[in-house]
């Protein structure tokens, strides 16, 4: 459905080339037809992937972080290997592993978008888990002991004593993780997801003759769009961090 619309679109631009025979300045392409809307639609795919992944990573990361503070040597070793592997591999390699690898290993063909969400959740869980672990171990032992001395159960200790102390430190870091996810989600174009870069490419290709210099404004605008999405989030995280430092 979508592909045919694109073909139609490129056809119409070809026709218009024949009709007018003119070449236009690149920047005009943004306001031609529904090009800008299409770019925003592409950006939305990117954001949808990152927000979904972030939302899923949050509970999983907290669980993983708590798991990592356990003293069981097997849990420790396994979680360490998982964390280090995810950290050392480029996200694009992980995307390839899931996207191409699962198809082969489990005879299971995942869509690019689903592969992306799986990878980002695996990655987000690891990163957030490590942040949670760091926050948890930074709380002095005596806090747990004094809670126990008051007769609080471990669950009560977690809810009333530990979590409120860690949350303030964690939230800015977790928000930063979201901007990292948005930025990293640009990679999904390389496993065939039609997002903002791909849409840009399509627009450029379709208007190759009418707007020969379209690549400059299109990629410039995409650059700007990413900045406009990520920058406010970074600023917000920075603000929270500053306010909660003491």
């Amino acid at each position: 459905m979508r592909a045919s619309a694109i073909e139609l679109f490129s056809l119409s631009s070809l026709l218009s080339l024949q009709n007018t025979g003119g070449r236009e300045r690149g920047i005009g392409i943004l306001f031609d037809g529904n090009n800008f809307e299409r770019l925003m639609g592409g950006l939305f795919v990117t954001i949808r992937i990152s927000l979904l992944s972030a939302a899923l990573s949050l509970p999983l990361g907290i669980l993983f972080g708590m798991l990592m503070t356990r003293r069981n040597p097997l849990t420790k070793a396994l979680s360490r290997i998982y964390l280090d592997f995810i950290r050392i591999m480029p996200q694009l390699v992980l995307l390839f592993l899931v996207y191409f690898g699962t198809a082969r290993a489990f005879a299971l063909s995942l869509s690019g978008e689903l592969s992306a969400v799986i990878v980002f959740v695996l990655w987000g869980t690891a990163e957030l888990g490590d942040l949670v672990r760091g926050a948890l171990v930074s709380i002095p032992r005596i806090q747990y002991e004094s809670a126990a001395a008051l007769g609080l159960t471990p669950l009560q200790t977690a809810f009333f004593i530990i979590i409120p102390q860690t949350v303030r430190r964690l939230i800015p870091l977790a928000i930063n993780l979201v901007t990292r996810m948005v930025k990293t989600s640009s990679l999904v174009v390389l496993i065939g997801v039609v997002e903002v870069l791909k849409t840009g490419q399509q627009i450029i290709d379709a208007n190759r003759f009418r707007y020969p210099t379209a690549a400059l404004p299109i990629y410039g605008v995409i650059f700007l769009l990413y900045f406009l999405v990520c920058w406010p989030i970074s600023l917000f995280a920075g603000c929270l961090e500053k306010r909660w430092r003491d």
Partner: protein, 219 residues
């Protein structure tokens, strides 16, 4: 797993890893230079340069490398600025890395006590000499852990170079999958290559960090 396939195509991975490392090395070198310059600019609060430096850092840190590369490789030629894909890789990586290195150096500089600068000045050193001999060496040592983290991050980021037609590791892996459908072998080699590249740096970083934290200068 088909080991004859692996043996046959291992040299391709080797070449690709060399290319990746070469571009990464150049990019990291420039990143460090840019980072040192920008952080010193911000440390001394130089009136206009400081604004430019912080705008650059924000712009670079809040956009993905892939988009930066697309702009450099596909966009800029329309302005008549044509760069080879290797050069684009170096420029893009330096643009991104410079911002991350700036942040690391800045944290290091902030951690050096201000009165150290005064002590250097009171010996008659010029501000530039104080920075060069006294403050920056200390800041550098303090930022080693985050510099190593940046190096690893930047080498990982090179994995998107295949998108601008550089024959890096991802490019080779994708090529082999497309040509021979030997997906498992191609991916196995890919993972192995990155492990070989990055694991030693990561371990080195952990060791350095431990040494700096527990010993400091003088061992």
């Amino acid at each position: 797993m088909d080991f004859s396939f692996i043996r046959r195509f291992a040299p391709m991975y080797f070449d690709a890893a060399r290319l990746t490392l070469g571009i990464a090395a150049l990019g990291i070198l420039f990143s460090v230079l840019i980072g040192a310059l920008c952080s010193v600019t911000e440390y001394y609060k130089l009136p206009i340069l400081r604004r430019i430096a912080s705008a650059y850092v924000e712009l670079s840190r809040n956009t993905p490398l892939l988009v930066q590369l697309f702009f450099l490789y596909f966009g800029l030629p329309k302005l008549g600025i044509r760069m080879s894909s290797a050069l684009c890789g170096v420029v893009g990586l330096s643009f991104l890395g410079g911002a991350y290195m700036t942040e690391s150096f800045r944290a290091g500089l902030e951690a050096v006590e201000g009165v150290q600068r005064e002590a250097a000045l009171s010996l008659g050193l010029t501000p530039l000499q104080s920075m060069g001999y006294v403050i920056f060496p200390q800041a550098l040592a303090l930022s080693v852990p985050s510099l190593v983290a940046n190096v690893i991050f930047l080498i990982k980021e090179t994995s998107v170079f295949s998108a601008i037609a550089l024959a890096d590791l991802m490019y080779v892996a994708k090529d082999l999958i497309g040509l021979y459908y030997q997906t498992e072998e191609a991916l196995f080699m890919l993972v192995l290559s990155y492990l070989v590249l990055l694991l030693p740096i990561s371990i080195l970083g952990t060791l350095l960090e431990r040494r700096l934290r527990y010993a400091g200068f003088g061992d």
